[in-house]
Symmetry: C2
């Protein structure tokens, strides 16, 4: 019954040893399912300090804080085409809607750790795979002013079903996103300015960060075409930092959507065409990059990095 | 395919009008699924202020901060008996594990908003229904010192499948929990002391709060026996505040587990028997109680309440 991990990156390079160290030292609290990991006090502290530092960085945006649960309407996930591009990553929420006799069977199977999934039905909910997803239908309701709008999602939980032993490839993790909805000719510049600002910020934390074209894991043969098109059109950039794997790890991304989300949800600003873009920090990956770069003895981190994080 | 709402409380009293006002004034951002609701800037601000105030209240506990994702191993949910008590509330995560030909079918059905749930299989993950759930297996790994331990989960997202128009009955919401694992004779006193401290705290925010025995929605006929037993043994208390419904709404709860979680996950402290207890603040319900009690003009709230929240 369990959906198997397939074509998912496993730990490479020194990722496995790094992960073991983080577990031994109490930064990470693994569960019995790969990629579903609790966070110990020192990890939580670093993640919150990084979040506060990003808040300072974002202050100039006068962003509107909109926060959303980790589940979204399945209908919205369908509307934006996620199931075509990334069917393997989507999580769907199922629940029990039967009567008492069936509930007893379900309970007994669960008690014996047997398969009770046949008693469940799909709900109208899917796991949120990117923090910006619920922002677009909310903006359709709130309206986009002529001067554009920036939304800050805060550090939101997102879900991608790609279980792995790579400590950077979590099934559930925090993504903090800024979303910009504005006239087409202003959105691209906004995205590029934030890419440069975020790169400088991550470098100020002593991270050997660099920008590259994104390599999203689009599914299947059609996906290879989508991935090539994404790169050719420069739709998405990533900031990469080495975190022990064979290749550097993306810790932030910068994505221009043209009118995709705006047309799906009917965003408009006066007579002009609205485009959207977003940027996201992978909060856990940023913390892991700091721990990999500077070591797990946080007291011994470079003074300027400690100062940046208020340590 | 959609699991239907059944036996779930609908809006009563003035709940419906209160919810409409909160939506109109931008506190809540409803999605197309009942109970799955985004939060506007003023709501986020109040929730964060309340969270900070609870952090001050908790400081004396020297609690260990452990944070967990909104999904947990299904095996753990089975082990603690949740599927026997609350099968109707549990959410299970399903995913796609097929090959490309089937992915194309799935994508086409999703594009047409048709039922694609038949292409999914259960994963090893369930939605976390209470913030304390992942704490117990983590404590089994970390160990419980002889002097006991208090864990602070922070404001964690939890999930209960009971869609409703009652603004207080969200499918996904933040619960901030403290968990105590200690010798049996000390855990009860800890729970009772926190019940009294939380009551005084909520009253200091001007809320007409009162303590009562808990009324958990145990499922079916067997559930009625479980509910009676819970009340007879004084296992769980709630703090209730009127939020527009026919009856007051529980905004916090205080739960003694005896050795239930300790025995399931093998918690031990030296030779003594470990018991556990937890308390949880329903963060959104606390904010809603404040808005219902004091009105949606936050500037006009009583000076002492504004001062408590740093407004």
């Amino acid at each position: 019954m369990v959906a198997s991990a397939r074509d998912v990156p496993q730990a490479t390079g020194t990722q496995g040893a790094f992960r073991e160290q983080l577990v031994d030292e109490g930064f990470l609290l693994p569960s019995s399912v790969p990629g579903v990991t609790g966070q110990g006090p020192a990890f939580v502290d670093l993640r919150q300090r990084l979040d506060a530092r990003i808040s300072s960085l974002v202050a100039s945006e006068q962003a509107v804080a909109l926060e959303f649960p980790p589940v979204e309407p399945r209908h919205d996930l369908e509307s934006v085409g996620y199931l075509t591009s990334f069917p393997q990553l989507a999580g769907s929420v199922f629940a029990f809607a039967g009567e008492e006799a069936e509930a007893l069977q379900l309970g007994e199977k669960a008690h014996r750790h047997e398969d009770w999934s046949g008693h469940l039905q799909a709900t109208g909910l899917a796991m949120v795979p990117a923090a910006c997803h619920p922002v677009y239908p909310a903006l359709a309701r709130l309206g986009v002013p002529d001067s554009g709008i920036t939304v800050d999602t805060g550090a939101a939980w997102v879900f991608r079903h790609e279980p792995s032993d790579d400590p950077c490839r979590l099934v559930a993790f925090h993504m903090r996103e800024l979303v910009r909805a504005d006239a087409a000719d202003r959105v691209g510049a906004w995205r590029d300015a934030w890419r440069d600002r975020a790169l400088a910020f991550l470098q100020s934390l002593g991270l050997p960060a660099a920008v590259d074209d994104a390599h999203d894991p689009f599914f299947g043969r059609t996906g290879k075409v989508l991935a090539r098109s994404q790169r050719a059109q420069k739709l998405k950039f990533e900031i990469l930092v080495p975190v022990g794997g064979d290749a550097p790890t993306a810790v932030a991304s910068f994505n221009a959507h043209a009118d995709h989300f705006a047309s799906v949800f009917g965003l408009g600003a006066g007579d002009g065409e609205v485009h959207t873009a977003c940027l996201g920090f992978g909060m856990e990956r940023c913390v892991l990059a700091l721990l990999f770069t500077h070591g797990t003895q946080v007291d011994a981190w470079p003074a300027d990095v400690r100062s940046e994080l208020g340590l």
